[in-house]
């Protein structure tokens, strides 16, 4: 288990009711997302979003280090 900081943006932030939280999680981005999706009712599947680890886009099988900053990136709407 590792301790991580999870950041929430846009509709994920609205659903979670917070911009960030510290969680103790297993070493899997996919299972963390699935847990959070169930907990907060996120409206997207993992295949529809991107994930960032320590400020960089990564693939879903990336290793989570202790103290990592994780952000799930729902479809963007800048511009």
């Amino acid at each position: 288990m590792v301790q991580v900081k999870v950041l929430y943006f846009a509709s994920f932030q609205e659903a979670a009711g917070t911009a960030s939280e510290t969680l103790t999680v297993e070493n899997s981005l996919l299972s963390l997302f699935e847990q959070l999706k169930t907990r907060y009712g996120f409206k997207f599947q993992s295949s529809q979003i991107r994930v960032a680890l320590n400020g960089q886009f990564v693939s879903w099988d990336a290793e989570i280090n202790d103290g990592a900053e994780i952000a799930f990136i729902p479809p963007v709407s800048g511009g």
Binding site: L7, F9, Q48, G55, Q56, P74, V76, G78
Partner: protein, 137 residues
């Protein structure tokens, strides 16, 4: 150079910063806040970003444009925070010796920014509700 700004975008000042003696073409794209979205009346909007990643990804797009097209300077500023109708939400400026490269690079930058940079728009509707937009999901 890509940057985020929580202040009103000054297009004239940005344009002045692009002046270059080798430039024969300057293309500027401004994205403005409009008063409607899919038949709903919009009174304003909020942009939120994952700032560190947005700046890194935005800068990557600028560098890609510089490699793909024969340009001199490429610059983009994207607003965050609360905006009202008519505000400039995003400014893209490109200089090049000739117009083709400037047109193509500016189009590339705005299209890639809309696809890849972690910035989200929340529309405030005239009837009172607000909604985060997540297109192509």
């Amino acid at each position: 150079m890509f940057s985020l700004s929580d202040q009103i975008i000054d297009g004239e000042a940005l344009k002045a910063s692009m002046l270059h003696s080798q430039a024969g073409a300057f293309i500027c794209f401004e994205g403005w806040v409009r008063n409607h979205h899919q038949a709903r009346d919009v009174r304003g909007l909020q942009y939120q970003s994952y700032a560190s990643l947005a700046e890194a990804e935005g800068e990557k797009i600028i560098q890609e444009a510089r490699q793909k097209f024969d340009v001199i300077t490429v610059r983009c500023v994207h607003r965050i925070g609360e905006l009202t109708i008519g505000d400039c939400a995003v400014w893209v400026g490109v200089t090049a010796a000739h117009r083709d490269a400037a047109f193509m690079a500016s189009r590339y930058v705005i299209d890639e920014i809309k696809q890849r940079v972690p910035i989200w728009k929340k529309e405030h509707y005239r009837e009172g509700s607000s909604e985060w937009l997540h297109p192509n999901a």
